[in-house]
C-alpha cells in the first residue's frame, strides 16, 4: 500500500522530461525526412509515432509490474 494517492506519487517530472524530448524528437525527425525532398518520407514520422505508442504500452507494463518480480530469480 502507498502512503499517498497516485497523482502525488507519480513521477511527473520524469514524464514531463520524456514528453518534451519525445516531442522535440518528432519535430526534428519530421524536418529531417521532409525538408527539400521531392519524395518526403512522412511515413517514417507516422511509424515513429506508432513506435512511441507501442513504447507507451510497454512503459505502462514496466511501470505497473512490481520490482520484486525482477529482483528475485536466477543469477
Amino acid at each position: 500500500m502507498f502512503d499517498r494517492p497516485f497523482v502525488q506519487r507519480f513521477d511527473w517530472c520524469l514524464f514531463g522530461l520524456m514528453f518534451l524530448l519525445g516531442c522535440m524528437g518528432l519535430v526534428v525527425l519530421y524536418s529531417a525526412v521532409t525538408a527539400g525532398s521531392d519524395a518526403p518520407r512522412k511515413l517514417l514520422v507516422v511509424r515513429q509515432v506508432l513506435w512511441y505508442g507501442a513504447g507507451g504500452v510497454l512503459l505502462v507494463f514496466f511501470f505497473c509490474v512490481s520490482t520484486s518480480c525482477w529482483s528475485n530469480g536466477p543469477m
Binding site: 502507498f2 522530461l17 525538408a35 515513429q48 513506435w51 510497454l58
Partner: protein, 292 residues
C-alpha cells in the same frame, strides 16, 4: 527471462538477420524490423542489478564475485560484436562498468583491472575490422579521405557550425534539405537539430538530457531497496552514455559508431527500449512511497 529472450534474439540475428550496410543487426518481422541488441541493454541492467543487490558490500566486490557479471555481459557483448555493431557493444560494456563501479570493487582489483585496460586497450586495434580502423584514422584526421570515410563527419560539422546561435529554422537547413548529411534521421539527427535550431536548441536538448540524468540519479538516491537503486543507476548510465557517445560522434570528438540519440533518432527498437527503461525508473520512483 528478458535476458534469455534477448540473447536468443541475438543468436537469431546472426542466423536469420537482415544484412544491410555491411552488418547484420536487424530481424525482419513482417512489415517491421527490430534490433535485438537494443533490448539487451535493459536485460543486462536488470540481471546485473539483481546480482549486485545480493552481493554488494562495503568492502567492494572481489574477483570471484565479478565472474558471473563478466559472463552475463560477455555473452551478448560477443554476439553484438559479431554482427558487427561496435557502438551498441560499447554501450552495453559501459553500462556494466558504470553499474559495477557504483556498487564498488575492491581497491586492489580496481587498480589491477584499470592497469589491464590501459595496457591492453591498444591491442584491440589488431582485432578491429578494416572499416573500423578506417573510422578511427578518419577521426584522428577527417581530411584523410574527405569524399570517402571522412565525408560523414565533415558534413556533420559543417551542419552544426552553420546553425550558429538560433539556427536556420526548421526545414531550412541546406545541409539537411540538400541531403549532404548522411543518416540524417537516425544517428546524425543531432546535426539536423543543431543546424536548424542552432546552439540554443542544442543547448536546450542537452539540458533536458542532463535533467533526465540528474533526476534518474535522484530516483536512485531516494530508493529504499538496493535493487531499485542499482537498476536506476543502470538506466541512467544507459541514457547518459548513449547521449554522450552520439553527440561526441557527430561533433567529431569520437570516431563514428552506430549509437542512436534516445527519444530523438528514428528507430523502433531504440524508442521502445528507452521507454521501457523510463517505465522502470518511474516504477522505482513510485515505490519510494510504499508503506513499510
Amino acid at each position: 527471462m528478458i535476458y534469455g529472450f534477448s540473447v536468443f534474439l541475438l543468436v537469431c540475428v546472426l542466423v536469420f538477420g537482415k544484412y544491410a550496410g555491411g552488418s547484420r543487426r536487424w530481424l525482419g518481422l513482417g512489415v517491421v524490423s527490430i534490433q535485438p541488441s537494443e533490448f539487451v541493454k535493459l536485460a543486462v541492467i536488470v540481471m546485473l542489478a539483481r546480482y549486485y543487490a545480493r552481493v554488494a558490500n562495503v568492502n567492494g566486490l572481489t574477483f570471484y564475485e565479478l565472474f558471473r557479471p563478466f559472463v552475463v555481459v560477455a555473452v551478448p557483448f560477443m554476439l553484438i560484436v559479431r554482427q558487427p555493431d561496435l557502438g551498441t557493444a560499447m554501450v552495453v560494456l559501459l553500462i556494466a562498468v558504470s553499474m559495477t563501479l557504483f556498487v564498488k570493487v575492491e581497491k586492489r582489483l580496481f587498480v589491477c583491472l584499470g592497469f589491464i585496460s590501459v595496457t591492453g586497450g591498444p591491442l584491440v586495434w589488431f582485432c578491429l575490422k578494416g572499416y573500423q580502423k578506417q573510422r578511427i584514422l578518419t577521426f584522428l584526421n577527417p581530411d584523410l579521405d574527405p569524399l570517402g570515410a571522412g565525408y560523414h563527419i565533415i558534413q556533420s560539422k559543417i551542419a552544426i557550425g552553420s546553425g550558429m546561435f538560433l539556427g536556420r529554422g526548421l526545414g531550412r537547413g541546406p545541409q539537411n534539405a540538400l541531403s549532404f548529411l548522411p543518416e540524417q534521421h537516425t544517428d546524425f539527427i543531432f546535426s539536423v537539430l543543431a543546424e536548424e535550431l542552432g546552439f540554443a536548441g542544442s543547448f536546450f536538448m542537452i539540458f533536458l538530457f542532463l535533467m533526465l540524468v540528474v533526476w534518474g540519479l535522484n530516483v536512485a538516491h531516494g530508493c529504499r531497496e538496493p535493487f531499485g537503486t542499482i537498476v536506476s543507476v543502470g538506466v541512467t548510465a544507459m541514457i547518459f552514455w548513449q547521449v554522450f557517445i552520439n553527440v561526441a560522434m557527430v561533433t567529431g570528438l569520437m570516431p563514428v559508431v552506430g549509437v542512436p540519440l534516445p527519444f530523438i533518432s528514428y528507430g523502433g527498437s531504440s524508442v521502445i527500449t528507452v521507454m521501457m527503461c523510463v517505465g522502470v525508473l518511474m516504477n522505482v520512483s513510485m515505490r519510494r512511497f510504499l508503506m513499510e
